[in-house]
Symmetry: C7
Subunit: 94 residues, 7 copies
Amino acid sequence: MPVRRLVLDVDKTVSEPDLIHLALVIEDVAGVEAVNIAVTEIDIETVGTNVTVEGDGIDVERLIHAIDRTGAVVHSIDEVVAGTYTLENKPRSR
Amino acid sequence: MPVRRLVLDVDKTVSEPDLIHLALVIEDVAGVEAVNIAVTEIDIETVGTNVTVEGDGIDVERLIHAIDRTGAVVHSIDEVVAGTYTLENKPRSR
Amino acid sequence: MPVRRLVLDVDKTVSEPDLIHLALVIEDVAGVEAVNIAVTEIDIETVGTNVTVEGDGIDVERLIHAIDRTGAVVHSIDEVVAGTYTLENKPRSR
Amino acid sequence: MPVRRLVLDVDKTVSEPDLIHLALVIEDVAGVEAVNIAVTEIDIETVGTNVTVEGDGIDVERLIHAIDRTGAVVHSIDEVVAGTYTLENKPRSR
Amino acid sequence: MPVRRLVLDVDKTVSEPDLIHLALVIEDVAGVEAVNIAVTEIDIETVGTNVTVEGDGIDVERLIHAIDRTGAVVHSIDEVVAGTYTLENKPRSR
Amino acid sequence: MPVRRLVLDVDKTVSEPDLIHLALVIEDVAGVEAVNIAVTEIDIETVGTNVTVEGDGIDVERLIHAIDRTGAVVHSIDEVVAGTYTLENKPRSR
Amino acid sequence: MPVRRLVLDVDKTVSEPDLIHLALVIEDVAGVEAVNIAVTEIDIETVGTNVTVEGDGIDVERLIHAIDRTGAVVHSIDEVVAGTYTLENKPRSR
């Protein structure tokens, strides 16, 4: 299963889980080599993040399960890259 | 058939097909080396994506057929690259 | 004839020619090494494209003739590069 | 603990702590290799900064504790990177 | 005479000269190594272009004379680079 | 003291000090390897500049003292980089 | 005198001096390695330019004197770089 990158829309409450904890849980999933969590919105009770995960054969089911168990919520998968190299999105020109 | 890159406008329903499944089906087509699926729009029932596919001699007919069989819909081909290297679009200056 | 790059404004009908066919016809012209066709507009009956062609000594007359024979229409040449290397346009600063 | 980068939203009063002092205190924390403090806002009494910290296994608790002791206030963690390399955030395309 | 780059504002009528012809005439001038002609405006009777020329000791007088003889009109020189390497313009920060 | 970069907001009168003199005075401070002074505003009596200084262990106190002695005024330090390499600011994504 | 780059705001009349002549005069000054003259404004009688000069120990007084003698007018120095390498301006983040 050659999944090389996932971009996820993930929300959490302000206190739970701790961002560092979330990063380390993701980094621990089979096939994950690096994770970037960027906070995109801070509201009174929730924090919205954009989670970028890269690796060589990321175990997607375990990844989403691991995030769910921390108390964070995966709203959507926003990008998937698979194959022999990490291909960037080429936006259409119209 | 030296097709090196295709950019496709692909829609799917929220549940069918799973984005990971779609990526793996595309990655499995003859000549495909890497695929990037970027979600460009989420509506109540449908999800719009921009699908970038690169390879060395992509079998375009099989690619579109493979996408169709997952239940997703190819609306248009938005970019084609063919030749001995991957040439970028040079937008006109007027 | 050291033409290294051409950018063409090309229109076609929605069905004719097929974009893949157009790319392969262009790629087959003497001196052409790579082609990028980017769709810039989709109307009810016509599709507008920006066609970038690179090579070493592109046979421009044959190229335009080959495009015409597919049923597509070359509206204008928007960029020409000639010489010992591929020079980019430097837009004026005023 | 493979934390490679942290981006922090840090406020301080105009006089306390001195920016140079703050940078050197951060740079002294276990695992920190480099720090960038960029001033994003100057008000009458406070200065807002964006603090970027990189290293190999940053000790996050000590880092935040060290900043607190200078009199500056950590408002939020805005980005966390963990793993075998420093992965950039890939913003979603919708 | 170490002129390395010229950017020229050149107009022509829609039919005369042919852009390919103009590029080949410029490419033939002493000291010219590469030329890029980008169309910046198409009016009913005239076509405006931005002509970038690079080389090692471009013969500027002959270049302008050669363009004039094709029937095109040089409106202005918009950039000149001279010296031992091709230096880019650094726009002022105010 | 491993300060690698400072960005300073510095004002001067139109005539005093001469920008070249100011650059050379800064360049002469212990630990400074390079300086860039960019004029950001010209008013009737004063000139606003953005001063970027890089080096290996910049002596910040002497630097600010040296600038003060030329008659220029340091309004604020806008960026500090310290550590084993020159880390760029990563702006937050919200 | 380790001045590595100067950016100058220089005006001239439409006819005097010729831009090519101005470039060659600047290129001839002690310490100058390359010059870029970009036209930023064309008025009825005057032409505004942005002049970028790079070298290793540019003789600034002679440079300005040489420009003055061509009939062009140096309005201001907009950037100075000095030191052991060419440092770019880092704009402040506020």
